[in-house]
């Protein structure tokens, strides 16, 4: 079975597959939200999705444009105040996975969503930390998904908004009450995981049709590949159909509003 699909679809399906049924997932807006809802609509019907707007166990029929769309509240089990969300549900240890996007990521999976350039005189000012700094440390583990490019994948981020493993890979060592941190990064080219020793990101799986050179070309440091480099399984017909329906529904709904 050879299906037609885009690299974006490959990314979303692969990111979705990372979520197991029954997991509790604190979802970032954008790509993570798309992947998490795809998971819920395919292999993981009981995945629990939490958005920082306070919506617990939400089942949106269309993807939210913002983190606080009405759809999230209407389809939620319940909606709590934002301080409660961060205190009881995230910091309280109820979240298995934090699913994040980012503007920049470095070899130790540190994330930058603050700015490009120098803090006092930024070249580009980005939105800021939002929920990420505490999602990344209070969730059991972290999945990250973003498009692969040299601008995004840099050796050292300009600013560590959100801890991956620190600038030396040792940022989580001996810190009490902290999650495992980023356990996988899913892009439109490949899947990366941190090296168990050094915590540097290593490519563990290439998407179909992607070469090592493609990844090297799109990564801002000398990226390493696992000895047992795998090939990411293709999307299934069902996954693609459900993803496309979800996106079409979403587009229609947002065009109307």
């Amino acid at each position: 079975m050879s299906l037609e699909y885009t690299s974006s679809e490959m990314m979303s399906v692969t990111a979705a597959r990372a979520l197991e049924n029954g997991m509790t997932c604190f979802v970032g807006i954008g790509l993570p939200s798309e992947a998490a809802n795809l998971a819920r609509l395919t292999h993981a019907p009981d995945v629990v999705l939490i958005y920082e707007s306070g919506t617990l166990q939400t089942k949106p029929d269309i993807l939210p444009l913002s983190i606080g769309d009405g759809e999230l509240c209407e389809s939620a089990l319940t909606t709590v105040a934002v301080p409660e969300m961060f205190r009881y549900w995230l910091q309280g240890g109820k979240v298995d996975v934090g699913f994040l996007g980012t503007a920049q990521i470095d070899r130790f999976a540190n994330l930058n969503t603050t700015l490009i350039g120098d803090y006092k005189a930024p070249k580009v000012r980005l939105p800021g930390g939002g929920g990420a700094p505490e999602i990344a440390t209070n969730a059991g583990e972290v999945f990250i998904t973003l498009k692969h490019s040299k601008r995004a994948f840099v050796k050292d981020v300009d600013f560590v908004t959100t801890l991956g493993f620190g600038r030396d890979g040792k940022g989580r060592n001996n810190v009490p009450n902290i999650g495992k941190g980023p356990t996988r990064v899913i892009t439109d080219l490949c899947v990366m995981k941190p090296d168990p020793e050094t915590k540097e990101l290593v490519v563990v799986s290439l998407h179909p049709g992607v070469s090592r050179e493609d990844v090297i070309e799109a990564t801002g440091w000398e990226i390493r590949f696992a000895e047992q480099l795998e090939s990411t399984p293709e999307p299934s017909e069902n996954e693609l159909m459900i993803l496309r329906e979800l996106k079409a529904r979403t587009e229609r709904a947002h065009a109307d509003a």
Binding site: G70, P83, P127, V175
Partner: protein, 272 residues
């Protein structure tokens, strides 16, 4: 007891030049009508606090109301950058503004601590983040029982908080429903508060544990029908995603923005 005022009078009375102002609403119930009234009254040198300064603060910053913004995520949700905020930060137009940035967890806890009358919030945060290196209001304390290092930030205690809510009853008790964000905390943490509402009703019809803010915890209530548009009011009207997307083009250019402001805020009346 809350006083029923026109939006004009409420803003005139409680929003002073130089004040610290929190206009809250987490995507939902953003007090746009009140923000426009602040712009119309040409308030200046405000310190604006908000977890998610989206286009309402972009408009106020572009209109020259702010000298400082305290926030944790500044963007046009689902669309992109806040061009007016960036223009002010990067190029000082129409005036230079200072920024102080936190994480959501820090600000949510700071609002909670403000409502709780405490000088600071304590939480497990900022581990490994470089935000403490650019924000001197982030400190760390040690738990006297476990020795754990915990983050501390000053509580948020605005001079005035402004929120939008579904409705108030005739005594001035306010019902907030749906995504409630930090709105109740914002009101309770502030010295003064203005609540705009869709309507005044005889009975709130609230269930026993609803988010109701009593009249005696609010300074002023002003009716502002559709007062949250282009954001939304759960149970009343939906979000104009359309406008959020359009805003990107409007805000990119100073002249286009200024024209928009004239047409839609300065010459759009507001209440007497």
């Amino acid at each position: 007891m809350a006083e029923f005022l026109s939006l004009h009078d409420a803003v005139a009375r409680y929003v002073q030049d130089g004040a610290t102002v929190a206009m809250e609403g987490f995507t939902h119930l953003i007090p746009f009508a009140a923000g426009h009234e602040v712009i119309r009254q040409k308030k200046r040198d405000l310190t604006l606090i908000r977890m998610t300064p989206d286009i309402i603060y972009d408009q106020m910053i572009g209109a020259g109301c702010a000298k400082k913004v305290i926030f944790s995520w500044g963007g046009n949700p689902g669309v992109g950058s806040l061009h007016r905020l960036r223009d002010a930060v990067e190029k000082g137009w129409p005036c230079k503004i200072e920024i102080l940035e936190h994480s959501h967890a820090a600000m949510a806890c700071a609002f909670e601590a403000g409502a709780a009358g405490l000088p600071m919030a304590v939480f497990r945060g900022y581990i490994g983040s470089e935000l403490p290196s650019v924000n001197d209001q982030i400190k760390f304390i040690e738990c006297p029982f476990t020795g754990e290092r915990l983050a501390a930030v000053p509580s948020v205690r605005p001079d005035v908080s402004i929120i939008h809510a579904q409705r108030a009853d005739r005594q001035g008790n306010v019902l907030v429903e749906g995504i409630v964000g930090v709105q109740k905390e914002a009101v309770l943490a502030a010295k003064h508060s203005i609540v705009t509402v869709e309507e005044i009703v005889d009975d709130l019809n609230a269930h026993p544990n609803a988010c109701v803010i009593p009249s005696w915890a609010v300074s002023a209530i002003a009716v502002a029908e559709k007062g949250a548009l282009p954001s939304y009011t759960h149970g009343y009207y939906g979000r104009s995603n359309h406008f959020y997307k359009e805003w990107d083009a409007i805000a990119r250019d100073r002249d286009t923005f200024t024209q928009w402001l004239d047409d839609n805020v300065f010459n759009a009346g507001g209440q007497a």
